[in-house]
Amino acid sequence: MTDIVAGRRRRREVNPLEYLKRPWMWLTLFGCFVFLYFPIVTLVAFSFNSYKRAFVWKGFSLEWYEKAFNNQALHEAFINSMHVAAVSTVVSTALGAMLGLALYRYWFPWKGTYEGIIHLPIVIPEICMAVAMVIFFWAVGIELSLYTIIVSHIAFTIPFVAVVIRARMAGFDVSLEEASRDLGASEWQTFWFVTFPYMIPGLVAGALMAFVLSLDDFVITFFTAGVGDNTFPVKIYSMLRFSVTPEVNAASTVLILITLSLTLVAMIMQSRWTKGKKE
């Protein structure tokens, strides 16, 4: 008996579930980190390459940063990309989350068929969807513009958000909602104070996914863009015929830096806010 208690106590010293305190976990995470960032570090390093071909190191130079900063077309493409990604992420996260929740919760006639259809944007080859969208926009007489890009991006990112939300909801304890209702909360209050907070990590994951998908998309963007609506990927892909220069690396580096600093600011503000709330 004492043995068991002692054994337990020993185990409690490092909580077995604090995986982050275990060396093997650190090793694995470190390995993944290297895998994820090694190419990115190379990419950043080559943004300082004095040679125009992004494959061969010739020497240090800031030339490409200067070029990227003075390249009006690149700025426009960048802003367009951000615009499209931001708007479509917000809309598709909202719509996708509601859809995911409804699919998790409700049974309705023809649900099998319905689910089959709404998951197709995940599997449809980009080019096939792109062509379909163009045919559609021309057929109904909608002029191609930044908005047609956004509309298409929302359409293909909604199911991605929905599946993440469903994966999140799979372990939800429905009795929490019942308890809330039993205690006199309205349907809306139950959703807002019980269900929604539970969904948040799923929303974050879904939104990140939608953002990456939208930011990365070339094919659908290319086809649904109107005159003057170049995005960053469209710009990069069109450089392929000649050579992709380190200018793109430089621009990507700047994007990474902007994201990092925004995150840091957000983190600092959040920690101040929570501190302020505690006091």
């Binding site: 061969v56 077309a73 109107g226 450089m239 015929r241």
Partner: protein
């Protein structure tokens, strides 16, 4: 061809023409666009390859005409075609390659040009003014041209390659096994294999295409990759020693680096011409004509050729170019080689033969 535009330009200077002609021709109509020329807003939407223009071209155009240019990008002919297939979202200028021009004409996707609005056509080399894909340049004006050939690293070769056999004949390709890149372009690769076997580049004979396919399958073990138009990068990065590429890409490498060279194989190869066209339903056809004329202005064209380093069809501009450009075999192929080269032509319903052969090559 020379008769176009002569009368106007001989009387007034080019500059005066640019400013004055708008009123003079203000009542002309062009193509299907029912729009009086003088009423056009000062805008122009260009759809072109990235960096396929001089650095100052658009600036000088704006300074001379006051027209604001929107420069949009595409990456290859097929992309551009697919984008315009359902309708023109508002482009005034497109730059397709020869075979694509031919198809776009047949499909009514480009409008006829008014040569009287493009007096600078007189600078064009007569060899380019009556192309097979568009007789009489009715719908397209040549912009730049080039060949397809082999770019190679001199130090890796015992002797300079001179035949397609060096990369297509298994016994000879074995010498550089795993150090060869071909292009990932079905018509170009199969076309060159056809040339090597003594067949026409645009063969529609299923048997000939099958032979070319089998040759390519046989040589595949020695090929490193089918490069997606980045053979020149693979060459410089040391991934391969010999690569099939478009002339201009290798010319750009040779400009930057010692030790690389380019050859058009003796069996002949592909010669291509990129052209400026006005797509159907272009909102600013008058401005588009002005732009075409601007591009072939000798000084403007010299700057373009200097920037992008492809061969120019503009003989007067060529005359003003430095020797390292005009004597460069990667820019201008020698005439005797050129005489054995062919353009890729549209093969209509036989496209499927090439498509299936290409899939078979990839999948085998």
């Amino acid at each position: 061809m020379r008769k176009f535009g002569r009368s106007l330009i001989s009387q007034v200077s080019r500059r005066a023409f640019m400013q004055g002609s708008v009123a003079a021709v203000g009542i002309t109509f062009v193509g299907g666009a029912n729009r009086a020329w003088s009423a056009e807003e000062k805008r122009l939407n260009i759809y072109n390859w990235d960096t396929y223009i001089g650095e100052k071209t658009l600036g000088t155009f704006n300074a001379r005409t006051g027209i604001q240019v929107q420069y949009d990008l595409f990456g290859d002919n097929e992309e551009m075609f697919a984008k315009l297939k359902e309708g023109n979202p508002g482009y005034d200028i497109i730059v397709p390659t020869d075979y694509m021009v031919e198809d776009m004409i047949s499909l009514g996707m480009v409008v006829p040009l008014d040569h009287s609005k493009i007096p600078n056509l007189k600078h064009l080399d007569p060899a380019f003014t009556n192309p097979a894909y568009d007789p009489g340049m009715k719908h397209s004006i040549p912009y730049m041209w080039g060949t397809m050939g082999l770019g190679y690293k001199e130090s890796a070769m015992d002797s300079a390659p001179e035949s397609w056999a060096d990369v297509l004949e298994p016994s000879r390709a074995a010498k550089h096994s795993g150090r060869i890149a071909l292009l990932s372009d079905s018509r170009a690769v199969i076309g060159c294999a056809l040339k090597y076997m003594g067949y026409p580049m645009n063969s529609t004979d299923a048997k000939q295409i099958a032979e070319a396919r089998d040759l390519l399958i046989a040589v595949k073990p020695h090929i490193k990759t089918f490069a997606a138009d980045n053979g020149q990068d693979l060459l410089v990065a040391g991934e391969v020693d010999i690569t099939m590429e478009w002339s201009g890409d290798i010319a750009a490498v040779m400009q930057e680096e010692e030790g690389y060279n380019y050859v058009v194989p003796k069996e002949g190869s592909n010669v291509w011409v990129d052209n400026i066209c006005i797509p159907k339903d272009a909102p600013h056809p008058d401005n588009a004509h002005k732009f075409i004329n601007h591009v072939h202005d000798v000084d403007v064209h010299v700057e373009i050729a200097n920037t992008i380093y492809f061969a120019t069809p503009n003989k007067d501009a060529k005359a003003k170019m430095p020797k390292e450009y005009t004597d460069n075999p990667a820019v201008f192929a020698p005439d005797d080689v050129l005489s054995r080269c062919e353009g890729i032509l549209s093969v209509g319903e036989h496209t499927r033969l090439y498509d299936e052969a290409w899939t078979a090559i990839q999948a085998s």
